[in-house]
Symmetry: D2
């Protein structure tokens, strides 16, 4: 069976394991106060053109999401997110567990837009900031989204402008940042994210690392005691150097984006094969996640040799499924899938 | 410089890295639903003689602590702990952050005793369970304690009895479980922990793993939706098999305890050298952590070649410091330290 | 100016003040352990035909809502409510502040229906109770709703059945219970609420009291330490007898429902006058709250002598406003309003 | 039976009930936006010499405590309090329920002192503000304390100075503020509290009102959205004018302090009688609460005609009990008690 069900079903890029082995005899200072974390943080500061940025390494993305929101919002502040946003739909109310309301907006292909956000914020201020409503104080978006779609520079700039107008922080969940940066349709750079948003992260878990996310706060004055919030939620790894080492390895020599670029290209091959066969996308994506609509027979046929994710039933004989490529996907796996699609 | 400052300054036992490398080409189901986790859980069920135990793998100990307490207590329940307990003194109020009060008791050598616990519980019930007090609903202890000390089977049995009498759960933080099991003075087995307590864990981070703690709930009915609590706090690792693989490696062939037994024995060598030299313990320990009292001159002399942890100033010319051995400590490092002690 | 803007703009029914004055020289035991609370609780047990019911007196409704939800749900449980529900739209995220997600459903005239609720619950169980979703564990509805509408016995029974099928508690916010019971269209009794739901309250603040809500838990085993939850959130009034006294006064001799019946009848007079004038309801209500659509000119004309609540702009020259009668509304005030409507 | 068990066993000062009756036919704007609240707030601004102070009316003291602490602290901030402080010992972990740790200090006669506070704060900063500790960000004290004792101007000034030095807010629980102000030994004024602290309140519940506490934030910029926090916790009363009316009544013509001065004087009569009889104080108090040590026989004798509060057993034949006078205590009640003491 070949797995296309997600982008976290393999270990880590071999270069990472190699370095873990090489450094296994060395000793390090704990809790992220080691040279590897410093080296990775500096590389990120360079890539984002933010020499002063605060950079924090999290073991996982759910932690990165709720710790950041808990640290940056007050108890009566809420966060705006797409109804399909990961924090709203896949994290067992981790945000509400920290005491915050999510104000969800209906998504379009997984995205929310500046106009929607502005309407919500304006309504709050036009009503006179009533005490019985939470203040919309942050906007959370994902790049790439749950459906693999991308925000364009124009879209992100518009959202950024609304956020600044209404004193809302802009937070980008970058669990799949690499696959966004690597897409042929992408026009955003890490420098853009640093310029247009207040906090974002570079996902490692889904993009070549064993685990880990690198959070960037371009303006370090935004949260002077951020590490305390991490500690309080158990997000400071004792052997923090294992996170620094992984990100240093991925980010130096551009491995991070190159791996994703290849995975995105594989996804485009699969997309092309599907289109040729007349199989439609549920939502069109130019990154590693492809959501497509299969008939019952097609689904059964592909299930023989491939593992993919069943997402939802979209009417009679219409099954929405997800095929995911990843940094670990091999050319022959893609060829096998393309061939199987051709033979449907 | 040789590090004796803590037991988490090296990567992982080589056998673990070897297996990570060997399996790096394989693919796995995510979030702990893989064969490695099953294999490790079964091994733990065998070692604890609890064929039905729920076993959960956490990335880190702070998470294991607060998620467990949050999952098992109601909002008006409190947890009893030593004032020096890790949850009370080292985790930035992670327990209070989940809404629970810690009722701290004065420690004796890092431990609390059945009599103290019973007095607290009895006072609550004798007062008629007043609504303005939280109910003491759990007792949290550590094995080994923050000072490296051990609960004996007699002591643990007495605490267990009080807990059952007053309907309190007994939770053992086992971040250093291995060093307890490996001590020459220990008379407790994993089966005893499973029999006498309600939830406990086998620490990996400090005992040979890259990261990870294995939590055991002998009676799985105690928390039927435990994984939701883990998910909500970001404690379910995407690549969960890396946790299962580590614990399977450590627990099969008894590597876990053997590594700790060696580290404890090294600590005894150091202890003996100190005693010969007339350097006293701050608190006597028979495990890998040694808290000793050095003069200013002694401290300065040892600082030349060794890194150790400064703990507190205990009066003029009396410095309490910690020397820690670990699974990764080498014989020649111990010899060097013993020699340096002899030359003080 | 005559106030029709809400149902809490006057003090208390004179009988209540009379008793407060009469008993002012007496002394009482504190925190609700007094004879007045016992007397009121017993009256409620009689009216609901629940001799064993737990009855708790809250100072206010927001407290009654969040304390009840916090006490009865676990951290990974969510509560289902209408998007317009008071807990979702008017209480500054008090529920999320206790850590719980509200799963909001689109309302129809302020109500949600058994089919919607069942669909949501079924989806959760059909998906296999995934750990990344909260469990829907409670349904919150209001009687009367935010729009003054009523659940029928058939509707409430259907919701109750779904709740029992899916192990969800049914909680009725009864801040305006009296106006529901007093409506000519109502077919539900307090006995029905006790039989069909798990927890509900009789609002006092809007129905003749100075302040206070009486919460009923028909099965007292549901929350044995409920008073602790109240205490923790500051909902146990020191001079608790003032709550008991008010409810005893309102509930004995049926004053509670009689006051509301009169207010509802006044609202029907106003409704009739509006209909004669061709002014349409925004949502048709048979209780004390009337939501109607006024032109700009009509709104301006009525604003001269009356205070009412502006709710929303529903398009050009369409203003949705609320007129509220109350236990304190006088016949001459209604006549003045009816006359003013006739003269529009 | 004559009640001396607490200071909240009677309704309200007759003048308050009179005004409630007088205004019962009037209508008011809700949620504290009425002329009575404005009038009371202005009176408080005048009495505290803080023309810009924010003044908020709470239904009860537990709410005032936890809402204030929740509003003014961040998630990793802790509050310093006496171990006997009301928030630490009598409110069912309401502070922890909002996510904050209480750092308790051993009390001396119910008080904590500047030196203790400074030592705690200094230790945190000397340790380098480690991420695993919460930041001490607020000091909570009570005036009068749980034992009826008073902070002197010298003591409060010293605490204030430490707070400013270490960027901690100073919060005074004034549930019994009146009895402090009315004591013959007191040298603090409301102006002093406004000058030396950051937030404090004037208790109503125990000092002549039916219910209610008036919170003062001298610098309104400290918490610009404070009412949202109140709303979120259900602390904004719908009929808020009942709070304003009570405080206006108590504070105009100095009734508030005069009532307490009388109660304190009664307590001094009782104290004198006890001393004459050789009955010792457990802790010496010059306000309305008297904690004394009775033999079993004395306790039994006094129990025949008086209700008082049993506090603790202080050894064989030593019972610590509390006698409380209040604004509602009558001269003849005190005479009866004095006589009974003389006859012991």
């Amino acid at each position: 069976m070949i797995r296309f069900n997600n982008d976290y079903n393999h270990g880590a890029h071999p270069e990472i394991l190699k370095r873990l082995v090489e450094t296994n005899g060395e000793n390090f200072s704990g809790y992220g106060t080691d040279p590897w974390c410093e080296r990775a943080a500096n590389k990120i500061r360079e890539l984002t053109a933010c020499p002063d940025a605060a950079v924090w390494f999290f073991p996982g993305a759910t932690q990165a999401n709720f710790v950041t929101i808990h640290a940056l919002l007050g108890p009566c502040d809420s966060v705006i997110a797409a109804d399909t946003g990961h924090i709203n739909a896949h994290e067992c109310a981790s945000i509400e567990n920290t005491g915050h309301k999510i104000q969800s907006l209906p998504n379009t292909d997984g995205k929310i837009h500046a106009e929607q956000i502005e309407a919500l914020a304006r309504a709050y201020y036009e009503a006179g900031e009533p005490e019985y409503l939470t203040r919309p104080s942050m906007v959370y978006i994902s790049f790439t989204t749950e459906f693999g779609t991308l925000y364009s520079k124009t879209e992100l700039s518009a959202i950024s402008e609304v956020c600044r107008k209404y004193h809302m922080l802009l937070f980008v969940d970058g669990a799949r940042m690499a696959y966004g940066l690597g897409s042929e349709k992408n026009d955003l750079s890490l420098e853009d994210f640093a310029r247009l948003t207040d906090v974002f992260y570079l996902g490692g878990t889904k993009c070549g690392a064993l685990f880990g996310e690198a959070l960037v706060i371009p303006d370090p004055k935004l949260s002077p005691r951020f590490k305390s919030y991490m500690k309080q939620s158990g997000a400071v790894l004792a052997k923090g150097w294992t996170l620094g080492l992984q990100f240093a390895t991925l980010l130096e020599n551009n491995l991070y984006v190159e791996l994703a670029r290849k995975a995105d290209a594989y996804a485009m091959e699969i997309k092309e094969a599907l289109e040729k066969k007349g199989i439609s996308s549920y939502i069109e994506s130019f990154t590693n996640q492809q959501f497509i609509v299969l008939t019952d027979a097609q689904m059964e046929a592909l299930s023989k040799d491939f593992i993919f994710e069943y997402t939802l039933k979209d009417g009679d004989n219409r099954n929405v499924v997800r095929f995911c490529t990843a940094w670990s996907t091999k050319a022959e796996e893609v060829q096998a899938l393309v061939k199987a699609i051709e033979q449907l």
